[in-house]
């Protein structure tokens, strides 16, 4: 496992995170936004794993378990919201749900 330098793993995590962030910012479809969120969470998880490996610490993997749980919870809430959104507005476009002026 030591063949992969930490920098490579971190760069991959950063790229994944940026991709997710961009998706979150630029997509209006809520399914894609949830997917992007998932990617970002996994990017963070990857960073934990890589760092944990690099310093021989178990906390990295422990954190990853936490992230997975969090992602699961997030996905369930997000999908429930998505369900509601579709029922109310008959669309998955997030902007139509904005009821605030501005």
């Amino acid at each position: 496992m030591n063949g992969v330098p930490m920098a490579h793993g971190l760069v991959l995590a950063a790229v994944l995170f940026t991709l997710g962030l961009a998706g979150l910012m630029f997509r209006r479809n809520m399914i894609f936004m949830l997917l992007s969120l998932e990617i970002m969470l996994n990017a963070a998880g990857l960073a934990f794993i890589v760092a944990g490996m690099a310093w021989d610490q178990a906390e990295g993997q422990a954190m990853f378990l936490l992230v997975i749980t969090l992602a699961a919870a997030e996905a369930s809430v997000g999908l429930a919201l998505l369900n509601q959104l579709y029922r109310r507005f008959k669309t998955l476009d997030i902007d139509t749900a904005s009821g605030m002026r501005g």
């Binding site: 979150l24 910012m25 630029f26 209006r28 904005s98 009821g99 501005g102």
Partner: protein, 617 residues
């Protein structure tokens, strides 16, 4: 007998209170009765007081109570009866009674009689306080009181906006004078430590030498008050408009009593004015200018009452001229005779106006001498006195005294002005009398003129007519003990002046009669074209003072008011509130509910923070 002194103002005051609280319950007859009786009783008390005073001519004082007592400031409600106040008191209650009585006839068809008599009685009470007050603060009470009554009575017909404006103007212009008077009082109190008139007259010469700048200033401020009240240049513009009130009001307030209060004030404080020769000189000059300016203006008026109003200004100008040459006694003497004959003229004018169904334009009157004989006689006698017809009229004696004082004091220019003024007087008078009583009637009202009936109409006119003849001149006011002695001069010069003045008056009358009886068409022609028309306009608008004040004072004031109306300073105070509102508007934009925008702003914010940290590290 001194204890009866307060009755002279308490009785009219009681009349006011009865009328104010009983209101309409008294009915027209009851109202009139209360209004006239209260003044009649005051006149009776005055007669008794005069009787006692003349038996033992010493000043009497009566202090009712201490008004205010703080440190040195101890004005009292105190009355003082001496020759000067007695003279004025006689004029106020005597002429006042006749006018109140006449008003019973004049007001019989008018609205608001209760109000009218309540204000008239209040006026008499205030005027009495003005002349009886032994200190300047009490005098000021009366002074403002008469101003208020004048305001209320000018605006008697309150439904017409023009009348209300005239009343407002009268109060305001006199109030400007009053503000000067008030500052004068502050100055006198600071310098002399008293407001008591007798003490002021005693302390002023001790405190100041003649010509001291402070005493000149004090005299100038007092003069300002006098000018406002007495309608002298430059505070004269209110009097002609004040004729909007009922005619008895014009007779009492704007001819006989209130407008002469300024003369009284200067005569009363002669000790201060004698220490201020420059101001005294100014008084004379203002008097001379006013008497000429008003004389010319009177020539070009078309309303009977406005002619008489300018005539009043002109005659008060004579009184100020007399004050200016230190002929105080002559001024007060003329004040008295003027009260008689000008009241007569105004009441006669009232008889004409009511007789002709409220027509008061000279051009629309005419040929009335047969229909209104009593008014005609009133105008003739009063006019003769006004024009100072030699020997037989009261006006001759008093005006002669003024001119003689001017000559004896060596003021040639003022004397000339006085003589020229008397020529003008005769001219405008003849124009007025001829216009009303001769020629052809110019309106339906004048053709259907009805003479007044009854004692209330006739008696006051007859009594005043008698007083306007030489009989009135026999009532010599007992002023010797109060005012400084008049100037003496050689008898020869005096006789020459009398002849000259008499000649001028007769000349004026003859010239006027010739012009206005025989040369009317020619005059009308002159007044309609070229220079004549321009002069006519100038004099008709009384030298354009009104327009000038309108432009210089009234409009800027209005502009200021409408400019400030929304309270700029308050708007400034609201600035923090405005700022908070703007911030609220701006910041609430950022919370638009667009989820993706939040994400972007978070990213941008996080990046910025990281950047800052990186740079700092």
């Amino acid at each position: 007998m001194t204890w009866t002194l307060p009755l002279t103002f308490l009785l009219p005051l009681a009349g006011t209170l009865i009328l104010a609280f009983s209101g309409a319950r008294l009915g027209r007859r009851g109202t009139t009765w209360v209004g006239v009786t209260s003044v009649a009783l005051a006149a009776l008390v005055t007669a008794l007081l005069a009787h006692h005073y003349l038996a033992a001519p010493e000043a009497r004082t009566l202090t009712l109570w201490r008004w205010i007592a703080v440190g040195d400031f101890q004005p009292t409600i105190g009355l003082r009866l001496d020759g000067l106040s007695l003279t004025l008191l006689g004029v106020i209650t005597g002429v006042g009674l006749l006018i109140h009585w006449f008003a019973a006839w004049y007001m019989q068809g008018e609205e608001g009689v209760t109000r009218f008599y309540a204000y008239m009685n209040l006026f008499v009470a205030s005027m009495v306080l003005l002349v009886l007050g032994d200190n300047l603060l009490l005098l000021f009470l009366g002074w403002e009181g008469v101003g208020l009554c004048s305001y209320l009575l000018i605006g008697h017909y309150y439904r017409t906006a023009a009348n209300v404006r005239a009343a407002f103007k009268a109060f305001l212009v006199t109030r400007i004078g009053d503000a000067f008077l008030a500052i004068g009082l502050f100055l006198l109190f600071r310098e002399l430590g008293t407001l008591n008139i007798a003490e002021i007259l005693q302390r002023a010469p001790e405190r100041w030498s003649a010509g001291d700048p402070l005493v000149e200033l004090a005299a100038l401020l007092l003069l300002g008050g006098a000018l406002g009240k007495s309608a002298q240049l430059p505070l004269h513009t209110w009097l002609a408009d004040a004729m909007a009130g009922p005619t008895p009001v014009s007779a009492l307030i704007h001819a006989a009593t209130m407008v002469t209060a300024g003369v009284y004030l200067v005569a009363r404080l002669h000790g201060v004015f004698l220490l201020a020769p420059a101001v005294l000189w100014l008084t004379g000059v203002i008097g001379a200018l006013t008497l000429l300016a008003a004389g010319f203006a009177a020539l070009a008026q078309t309303d009977i009452k406005r002619v008489l109003a300018y005539s009043t200004m002109s005659q008060i100008g004579y009184m100020f001229l007399a004050l200016g040459v230190a002929g105080f006694e002559a001024a007060i003497f003329h004040l008295m005779t003027h009260a008689f004959f000008k009241a007569l003229l105004f009441l006669s004018a009232g008889a004409v106006i009511v007789g002709c169904h409220h027509e008061q334009d000279i051009r629309r009157l005419g040929g009335l001498w047969r229909r209104l004989p009593l008014a005609y006689v009133g105008f003739l006698v009063g006019g003769a006195a006004l024009a100072a017809l030699p020997l037989v009229t009261a006006g001759f004696y008093s005006k002669d005294a003024i001119l003689w004082q001017a000559l004896a004091a060596g003021h040639g220019a003022l004397l000339l002005a006085g003589l020229l003024g008397s020529l003008l007087t005769s001219l405008y008078l003849l124009r007025l009398i001829v216009g009303i009583f001769h020629g052809e009637a110019g309106s339906e009202g004048a053709r259907r003129a009805e003479a007044g009936q009854g004692l209330a109409h006739g008696l006051p006119l007859v009594v005043l007519a008698l007083l306007s003849t030489f009989l009135g001149a026999w009532l010599e006011p007992p002023l010797g003990s109060v005012l400084p002695a008049p100037h003496e001069g050689s008898e020869g010069w005096h006789l020459a002046l009398e002849l000259l003045a008499g000649g001028v008056a007769l000349l004026g009358i003859a010239l006027g009669a010739w012009l206005f009886l025989n040369r009317r068409a020619w005059l009308a022609d002159v007044a309609a074209r070229g220079l004549g028309a321009r002069l006519w306009r100038l004099w008709h608008h009384a030298w354009g003072f009104d327009a000038a004040y309108e432009r210089l004072l009234v409009r800027p004031y209005r502009g200021l008011v409408s400019g400030l109306r929304h309270d700029a300073i308050d708007a400034l105070g609201l600035l923090p509130a405005r700022l908070a509102w703007w911030l609220h508007v701006a910041l609430s934009r950022t919370q638009g509910g667009k989820l993706r925008l939040y994400a972007v702003s978070m990213v941008v914010g996080a990046t910025l923070i990281l950047l800052v940290m990186a740079v700092a590290a």
